[in-house]
């Protein structure tokens, strides 16, 4: 504590510019591997652009109660299948702040279909408005929403409504919470299985290696989506949605750990014969210590690359399965279950805004691919 204080004091007293320059010159030689990786990652423009978007996505969906203008199950009975509401800023050439026009429903005289027309009634929009009460993260009761009509009860649908009159944007945010956290949770399981089995396989060699390798061969020979579907179909139908979510994560990782397992095994094989490993073993370190303390930090960056690479595949897999009705099931909102609303050509043709959740999927997967590319380039900063 005192040492820190004196050091800090010294550096502010000394010539700031000169010290900084000297630091920059010598920093490259003494920078840690992670710092070098960060510098290399920073050069990848696409990845750097993707990073904040991924963060925003996670922020939006993790705090979806706050960012959503309403609640996912609230039905606006008079606004079923309502197209997106446009946000205006200027009224008759004059800036009056964001507002929307209230929509009235009517009947198309030719097709007898319900249509919505803008009325002249201005509904003011604002930030941090009071809306429907909710509990933030199921803990803090509040009714503040990030953006919405100033007076509560205004019908504001950024991405339209579904056939039951529920706000698609709100549901997409809540669905994103499920889909994005699903990726993280199943990646965690993948990480555990892949690291353990891949590590054992590479470290023990011989019989264990043979078994794990054959297991990887078997899993990789069976097409992924049908295998996921078959395993998901075996889950009992009366499972609670939370248990089902966890089980789906486990299924995803049971099928998906093979890639990581191979990376870990290959890397362990390449460092197994290094002198520092022999030294550690000679000085009496246990197998676990040798693996986790000495070997894994050597190739941690490759593990991270492999994991980032499998996030998009997990998201696509979960949404595809949920879309087909074999993944997460109806009361659970995920991007896949939301897209079930547009399974018919009529729905897509007449209410194209129901496809908006797809936009979230594409953007997320795209950004993870960019970030993964940047990470792959940065994984070996000494190259």
């Amino acid at each position: 504590m005192t040492a820190d204080a004196t050091l800090g004091g010294k550096s502010t007293r000394g010539p700031l510019l000169g010290g900084g320059r000297r630091k920059a010159r010598s920093s490259y030689e003494v920078a840690s591997q992670w710092r070098l990786m960060w510098w290399k990652f920073r050069k990848h423009r696409m990845a750097m652009a993707a990073l904040p978007i991924i963060c925003i996505m996670y922020l939006l969906t993790m705090c979806c109660e706050f960012f959503a203008p309403t609640l996912p199950l609230t039905r606006f009975k008079s606004h079923k299948d309502c197209p997106p509401t446009a946000i205006h800023l200027f009224r008759e050439g004059e800036f009056i702040g964001p507002y929307i026009l209230r929509k009235d429903s009517g009947m198309d005289p030719v097709t007898y279909r319900r249509v919505f027309v803008d009325t002249d009634e201005v509904v003011k929009m604002g930030f941090f408005v009071h809306g429907e009460p909710y509990k933030m993260w199921n803990l803090i009761p509040t009714d503040i929403h990030f953006f919405g009509p100033v007076e509560s009860g205004g019908e504001f649908f950024l991405m339209g409504t579904d056939s039951l009159g529920r706000d698609v944007f709100t549901r997409a945010l809540y669905g994103g919470r499920v889909s994005l956290s699903f990726a993280v949770v199943s990646i965690f399981f993948t990480f555990v299985i892949g690291l353990t089995l891949g590590g054992l396989s590479g470290y023990m060699g011989g019989f264990v290696d043979g078994i794990v390798q054959r297991a990887i061969d078997v899993i990789m020979s069976i097409p992924g989506i049908p295998l996921w579907m078959a395993l998901a179909a075996a889950l009992p139908k009366d499972m609670s949605s939370y248990t089902r979510y966890l089980f789906m994560c486990v299924i995803m990782s049971l099928v998906g750990w093979t890639g990581l397992g191979r990376v870990v095994r290959g890397k362990i094989l390449s460092v197994r014969e290094e002198e520092f490993v022999t030294a550690a073993r000679l000085s009496g370190a246990t197998h676990g210590r040798v693996i986790f303390k000495h070997m894994i930090p050597m190739f941690m960056s490759y593990i991270i690359v492999s994991i980032t690479g499998s996030i998009p595949a997990t998201i696509l897999g979960e949404t595809s399965l949920s879309f087909l009705g074999l993944g997460l099931q109806a009361p659970t909102i995920s991007w896949g279950t939301l897209l079930q609303d547009c399974q018919t050509i009529e729905a897509i043709a007449q209410q194209p805004w129901k496809m908006f959740p797809a936009l979230f999927i594409v953007v997320t997967v795209l950004m993870f691919n960019f970030a993964g590319d940047g990470l792959r380039d940065a994984a070996d900063p000494y190259k």
Partner: protein
């Protein structure tokens, strides 16, 4: 030399095939309840008379009153010796009959997609690598990213939507309604082609994007090597220089991935077929899984996995034919 190599590879596959069959048998057994009880309930639900003698004969045939490991044995024996994959509960007909109706189309689409994917991605990859950082290269990279990020079902939905709104035609199914039951003729094939093309395009897009990336990266690696510089310094014509070694070297790792692309293609084909309601295995397997009609779904998985294994064997053989270093045992892996 080559024959010995093939024999060795083929022998290695037998334990793999056995392991796959065990895994799939476990999957078939996973849902709660035993087959006969479920079968009776299914029959009663659909209002059919439950035939006691047929139940007894089925129990005997599939060894359903035996312990599980014997059931596995009966299951495999029936498949290998008689091509009998069990009974589909939903359709109340033998699984093998359903498979023979639907599976050829699935495999046809997958293989066709494989050929198209390869035929398209290698030239594009070569162009992209030889014109690195050009406008065309960036365009290809961009399309590739999109192809990797858009899920197949979404692409299929969008395609159906755009074709419907622009031409008023619904391109679902493999044939238009006029030809579904018509005998094979030139007109029927012509009618089928755009539909088949659509499926192949949608299924192939993400695979193509992946392969183009791989081809580009491999060729770029190769082009930086010293033998290329030497050849160029000696004044070798650019086209000759490219075709003589770098491309051959870059294609090799792609050949070895054929076996692993096949499961991906079949996965993709399944999802897309469900959206486009193709007369392939996709929609059938989906319904079978929702109804937990496991013999049907499991048999599909088994056949497709065996095909994948055969695919890897073929790709190994092809690689040995193309790459003399492997043929003569110079390179182990």
């Amino acid at each position: 030399m080559l024959l010995g190599y093939i024999a060795k590879r083929a022998l290695k596959l037998i334990p793999l095939l056995l392991a796959i069959s065990v895994v799939i048998f476990i999957i078939i057994q996973l849902p709660p309840g035993d087959y006969i009880t479920n079968y009776i309930i299914q029959q009663q639900n659909s209002g059919l008379e439950v035939n006691q003698s047929s139940i007894i004969s089925m129990t005997k045939r599939y060894g359903l009153d035996q312990p599980v490991y014997l059931q596995y044995f009966y299951w495999i024996k029936n498949i290998v010796t008689r091509g009998d994959f069990g009974q589909s509960m939903q359709w109340t007909q033998p699984v093998s009959q359903l498979l023979s109706e639907r599976l050829p189309a699935t495999i046809l689409i997958a293989l066709l997609t494989l050929c198209v994917t390869w035929g398209v991605s290698i030239p594009i990859g070569i162009y992209s690598a030889t014109h690195q950082y050009s406008v065309g290269d960036y365009f290809i990279i961009f399309i590739g990213f999109i192809g990797l990020a858009v899920p197949g079902f979404l692409l299929a939905m969008c395609a159906v939507y755009f074709i419907f709104t622009h031409t008023g035609q619904s391109l679902t199914g493999l044939f238009s309604s006029a030809y579904v039951n018509a005998p094979w003729s030139v007109a029927k094939v012509v009618d089928m082609l755009p539909r088949l093309g659509l499926v192949v395009f949608i299924v192939g897009l993400s695979q193509t994007a992946g392969l183009v990336r791989q081809m580009r990266a491999m060729l770029l690696d190769e082009l930086q090597k010293q033998y290329v510089i030497t050849a160029r310094a000696k004044g070798l014509e650019e086209r000759r220089l490219l075709w003589k070694y770098p491309i051959r070297m870059a294609i090799n790792p792609m050949i070895s991935t054929i076996g692993w692309i096949l499961p991906g293609l079949i996965s993709g084909e399944m999802v897309v077929s469900i959206i486009l309601s193709m007369p392939t295995m996709g929609p059938v397997v989906r319904r079978a899984l929702i109804a937990q009609d496991m013999y049907l779904a499991g048999s599909f998985l088994l056949i497709v996995s065996v095909l994948t294994v055969v695919g890897t064997l073929l790709s190994d053989i092809l690689l040995a034919v193309v790459d003399p270093r492997i043929r003569f045992g110079g390179v182990t892996e």
